[in-house]
């Protein structure tokens, strides 16, 4: 038996579900030393709590308002010591099948104490589920992008993003306030967020909601190209020749 007790966090939006899990964990505590460091009502709260108090295990519900369990797990990977995540779910249509397929650990609610104990005993041998696998799970688009700054995980609400620009190794996230650096693939982001962003250039996705209009500009070589004018930021984005159809499509929308 490990000398250090297992540190864990409970995440669920329903108070009875949290209480039930706490009861069960207390039952397990005799067989396996553990400490419950807290309870969170949704993913965002959980992430906030974990910034200051690292844990070994997060037990999280899947469907929750504001930030669901799968999105939470993706953001947790950005922590310096990412915890193991075990999902709990009462019933989530086809989701369960996908969890099986990807060998992601989950517990079916109502949870039996033996199953819970079995899962807890496995934790020291488990590694956090990779971002790759998590993105395979059926989930809606993330509500936040997460970046690491000075060993803290910062959440950027997706609706605040004005544009995403790929530069060398990183992607620059631009909001009306400031810029952030993100380590992800632009193509993946494009598929994940679908209609929210439009590709205006090979290296750039602009948020449709933040596009104010387009402007024709003269190049030095005499040719002309379009620039995207954006809400909330001063700079403009060039539209590449291949993506010029976007101007026509969106121009019609803004004109209408």
């Amino acid at each position: 038996m490990a000398d250090n007790p297992l540190r864990l966090l409970i995440v669920d939006d329903e108070a009875p579900a949290r209480r039930r899990l706490r009861d069960l964990l207390e039952d397990c505590a005799t067989a396996l030393p553990l400490v419950i460091i807290g309870e969170a009502q949704h993913g965002r709260e959980a992430l906030e709590m974990l910034q200051n108090a690292p844990v070994d295990l997060v037990l999280t519900d899947i469907s929750m308002p504001d930030m669901d369990g799968v999105e939470l797990a993706r953001h947790l990977l950005k922590l310096s010591h990412p915890p193991v995540v075990i999902f709990t779910t009462a019933f989530h249509e086809h989701a369960v099948q996908a969890f099986e397929l990807n060998a992601v650990d989950y517990l079916m609610k109502p949870i039996r104490v033996q199953r819970l104990l079995g899962a807890l005993q496995k934790v020291p041998r488990l590694k956090p589920v990779s971002a790759e696998k998590l993105s395979q799970l059926p989930t809606t688009a993330r509500r936040f992008l997460s970046v690491t700054e000075r060993s803290r995980v910062v959440l950027v609400p997706v609706e605040d993003v004005v544009y995403l620009k790929a530069e060398l190794k990183y992607i620059t996230i631009r909001t009306s306030q400031r810029e952030y650096l993100l380590e992800e693939s632009l193509t993946r982001l494009e598929t994940e967020f679908g209609a929210r962003f439009v590709r205006v250039h090979r290296n750039c996705l602009a948020a449709r909601d933040h596009i104010r209009g387009f402007e024709r500009r003269q190049n030095d070589d005499g040719d002309a190209h379009w620039e995207v004018l954006l809400e909330g930021v001063q700079e403009t984005l060039p539209v590449s020749r291949r993506q010029q159809f976007v101007v026509r499509e969106m121009g019609r929308e803004t004109a209408a």
Partner: protein
């Protein structure tokens, strides 16, 4: 049990002559029939029109008279067997036709042989329409059974069932009394879900069921869910299809409350206005639902279909999205069991097996008694 004993739950009956849908169908069919006859007699489109206009001067008053007599005699007719009832309808047609002819002949002399023609036209129409209504009833009765099956399947989302069970389990240690009440609510809910729901039941029973359902949701969601009941002027004795409101409230919670961590209000407004029962349900409308999508249409379509089966064109269900709320408005004719047992309106065919038991349950639930008898 009831289902096994009642081998044939829907013996052939005459159509409900007080139903707007039935009346509308008869009006359209007879006028079209007159047009066809007019065309057949003249063979010309232009002269057929004049012939049709002329024919309607008799056909329309004739039709009105017959419909008025049938409307008045409807409660009595509905108690007869199909054969005898059909005979009575034919008799009504012949007598009204003859009387009307006598009156009109005195005002404007009519050609000889016209009476016989009209009586034949009338009887032929009666035969065709009764045959049509019987076919229609036959086509619809499996649909009623089907609707009941759908009621079982589409009603409670597994999501709700398992989350509720989980919520109740969480109460067992800390608050056993509340756990007991919650399990009783669940038992009542599932008793209604699993019984024969083909017959109409009083609105107050439906409201009681909805209260139990929402109590279970409240257990899970706590102060995220506020329920605003506006039922002071509701007609509790109005007969409604069972599970008319509960699935819609389930939608309201699932789509309006669960996707947000902010508290929201579901409001229920039931009232009587000009002989119609209105139910207006409202919930917050959230555009960024995050995974809560499908399923809404199914419950709406299911309730709408059952309303149509029970009330035909006299009921309606409309839904709309306002700036920040989703609203469903149901309108049904006000009918009560007392009025029905006096007149025997055939929309509720035969006795209502669960009704007695329901009323007792309603009372015991209101008194807070624990019901132990097996239904």
């Amino acid at each position: 049990m009831a289902a096994i004993i009642r081998q044939n739950p829907n013996p052939p009956t005459l159509p409900d002559f007080r139903n707007m849908g039935t009346i509308l169908r008869i009006l359209v069919a007879v006028n079209l029939g007159a047009a066809v006859v007019a065309f057949a007699r003249t063979g010309h489109l232009s002269s057929a029109y004049a012939e049709w206009i002329e024919a309607t001067t008799f056909v329309v008053p004739f039709l009105m008279l017959v419909l008025a007599v049938l409307w008045a005699a409807s409660p009595w007719l509905s108690r007869l067997s199909f054969g005898v009832g059909a005979g009575m309808v034919a008799l009504v047609t012949v007598v009204s036709g003859t009387l009307l002819f006598a009156v009109m002949d005195r005002l404007v002399p009519l050609p000889a042989g016209a009476l016989a023609r009209w009586i034949i036209f009338g009887l032929l129409t009666v035969a065709i329409l009764l045959f049509y209504f019987r076919l229609r009833a036959r086509a619809l009765s499996p649909a009623i059974t089907e609707a009941r099956l759908q009621a079982l399947q589409a009603r409670i989302r597994p999501h709700f069932l398992f989350n509720s069970i989980n919520a109740v389990i969480s109460l067992v240690r800390s608050d056993p009394k509340r756990a007991e009440v919650a399990l009783e609510d669940m038992a009542d809910l599932f008793r209604v879900l699993m019984r024969d729901n083909r017959n109409l039941a009083p609105l107050e029973d439906e409201v009681e069921l909805c209260r139990q359902y929402l109590a279970l949701e409240q257990l899970r969601l706590g102060d995220r869910l506020t329920v605003d009941w506006n039922v002071k002027s509701m007609p509790g004795d109005a007969l409604v299809p069972p599970l008319m409101l509960q699935p819609l409230l389930e939608n309201a919670v699932y789509h309006g409350i669960e996707p947000s961590s902010k508290p929201g209000t579901v409001s229920i407004n039931l009232f009587l206005s000009r002989g119609e029962v209105h139910a207006i349900l409202k919930n917050p409308y959230r555009t960024t639902g995050g995974g809560h999508h499908s399923g809404n249409k199914m419950a709406l379509a299911n309730v709408r279909e059952r309303l149509a089966l029970h009330f035909d064109a006299e009921a309606s269900l409309a839904s709309r999205v306002t700036k920040d709320a989703y609203e469903v408005h149901i309108r049904i004719p006000y009918r009560t069991e007392a009025a029905n047992s006096a007149s025997g309106v055939p929309t509720v065919s035969g006795p209502i097996p669960g009704a007695e038991d329901d009323r007792q349950r309603g009372v015991s639930a209101r008194l807070g008694l624990v019901e132990t008898a097996r239904g």
